[in-house]
Symmetry: C2
Subunit: 419 residues, 2 copies
Amino acid sequence: MVENNFLNIAIKAKEASKKTAVLDSEIKNQALIAMAKALELNKASIFEANQKDLEEASVLLQNGELSKSLFNRLKLDDNKMRDMIQGIVDISKLDDPIGKTLLVRELDEGLILKKITCPIGVLGIIFEARPDVISQISALALKSSNVVILKGGKEAINTNKAIMNIIQEAISKIDGLPANIITQVFTRDDVAEMLKCDKHIDLIIPRGGNSLVKYIKENTKIPVLGHADGICHLFIDKSADFDKALNIAIDSKTQYPSACNSIETLLIHKDFPKYSKLLDNLRNAGIELVSNPESWHIEYSDKILSYKLVDSVEDAVMHINTYSSGHTDGIITEDKISADYFLSAVDSAGVYHNVSTRFADGFRYGFGAEVGISTNKTHARGPVGLEGLTIYKYTLEGNGQIVKDYVDGKKKFTHKDIV
Amino acid sequence: MVENNFLNIAIKAKEASKKTAVLDSEIKNQALIAMAKALELNKASIFEANQKDLEEASVLLQNGELSKSLFNRLKLDDNKMRDMIQGIVDISKLDDPIGKTLLVRELDEGLILKKITCPIGVLGIIFEARPDVISQISALALKSSNVVILKGGKEAINTNKAIMNIIQEAISKIDGLPANIITQVFTRDDVAEMLKCDKHIDLIIPRGGNSLVKYIKENTKIPVLGHADGICHLFIDKSADFDKALNIAIDSKTQYPSACNSIETLLIHKDFPKYSKLLDNLRNAGIELVSNPESWHIEYSDKILSYKLVDSVEDAVMHINTYSSGHTDGIITEDKISADYFLSAVDSAGVYHNVSTRFADGFRYGFGAEVGISTNKTHARGPVGLEGLTIYKYTLEGNGQIVKDYVDGKKKFTHKDIV
């Protein structure tokens, strides 16, 4: 009866979401602080659960059934735990994103239109083996008055359960908080059911590798916020400063090669004077260079870099707008005209001039926290913080106005903005 | 070879969209004025084409294969033509929604993050027999630097072709405007292909009845902006002023019964003193009243109204959050506490106090023009003007900054907002 189980959870989540829109900021922040305190108090039991996951994972690692990087992400240490707890405290200190007035307009005397932020509703979060995601997303959802159903990676199941139990117990003691605002599900069947649940789930946020995100995008009618590929480019213009070009290329490729904002393709202007010296230096930095048209589509997530000579900044832009995944692409140039053209013509969530693509990140942007990075063309794009978990509604307050009077010409709209 | 035809159109549209992001406001406005002038100059040929459509439609009308309201919407008269042309001129006068700076933040000295509005890309518009839509949407798309593929209702095919030819010729003379920014397609097969084209089309906007919108939402992975049902409610609280309640209920139901923002269900507080007088008055106004649970789901689009007694404002909110299509719902009350609770607890695009639901409209909200009304929970909600046709990107400008320095602790972020 997996189907009914998930449907029940989704229905309860939707019901809960009808109560969270009116939650006081105060109560939400109390709940966040309670979450942080409870995690701090119960650290030992989380580490214990994590140890269990790590033991099982190390067998898989030895058999080659789990990658080293996944294993590392699974491991919770003191630093990660401290960041996890501090992250919740930080979110409690951010402005409440709900109930913000975006517009106040007098449509006519005594007829006031307001545009006010409100929660999206029920979020479905599907993430791979990173147990720190669970507290971060739960905190962001709570702060933005959204209800959340989380499905974590099976490798972290013990850690996730331990964290979730502590969070749920902590918030259950907060007066005025509806039940079922944070739920966890565990199976692949649950994911399949979640993707079908377009009546009860308003937004899916996948956090994980390409194949996970692609699978989700292809199998649901619910809006999905995220990114599959991370094919980022760096273009070295003819007037690029050599040191900037080299340092930024190395940082963008090697600082964390498996990150989604690392570059996969280097485009070089054919008239860039020191281009062979640049390539030599990149090779010396341990980067393997490749150059063939099949490679324009490849996300290496490793110290491998495609490169291509181009005739002009226009050519570079055309290549990027064709092959980029729309995540983050940069230009290195001392020519302001080239830079301005590139910044306005490249159609990606992040377009950079003379800086490393690795800056594409919610924390580095100063958002306090992020739910992920979106390459969507609607709703939210780039690193998504609390704002991306909100939508708005219009309220209209009057004293008996009817449309007939305006259609008949008895009354006229004034349309005066007050805020 | 219908498939290839549409795919070619979509590929060309996508290519064009890569050039429109850098368009000057000046050029866009020139094109809009040229469109308006050309339509004014060629009115006669449009009326002629419309006459042809009307003749064919009147046969269908007589056979009962076309509704009277569809026939009326098909008919272009002097007033509609004047509004159509004035609408384009009005759009040319609005602020350019593209290139607006939403945020400027110093991440560190000399490292500047900007959030800037940009077009979504390629819009697919599917609309029923209203030939005035074609010029309005084309103008909105052009103003917002989006590329558009339009599919109109077959009943208006001659009028749509005439209008499109005039528009395309007018804008073809504008220097600096890319080709293929406005295209029209004609067949059901084109619609089917459009819905599959998620690589080349970024947003679908359907304008038409329930069944069209539902069909589209169920058959595409492309984001859809719009609304299917329009099940709107009016709640008469116990402290409601009788005259306001009556006038607003009549206006909300009868001013234009087939509009999506007309009410379908009246909820009445059981302690509202004059509730039987209210119902009598509504019957006298020509409204047929119905009361049974099956009717909570029905959009009558006619002078028929469901009604139900409820115990409290909380009950009313619960009914609305269960049965409303999330379009527009109102409360009539003199009690500020009830009103405030209703405004914050009802989860609809428009939530109204003491005014007619018929105000839910982009023109009445003062947006200048609208592409439609959205009941989505992401991207854009309620009446959608130019702003809903934009997204944003982040630009980051620096002078050689790399992430390694921040990770190693050599440098620190300042995160100072400048705008």
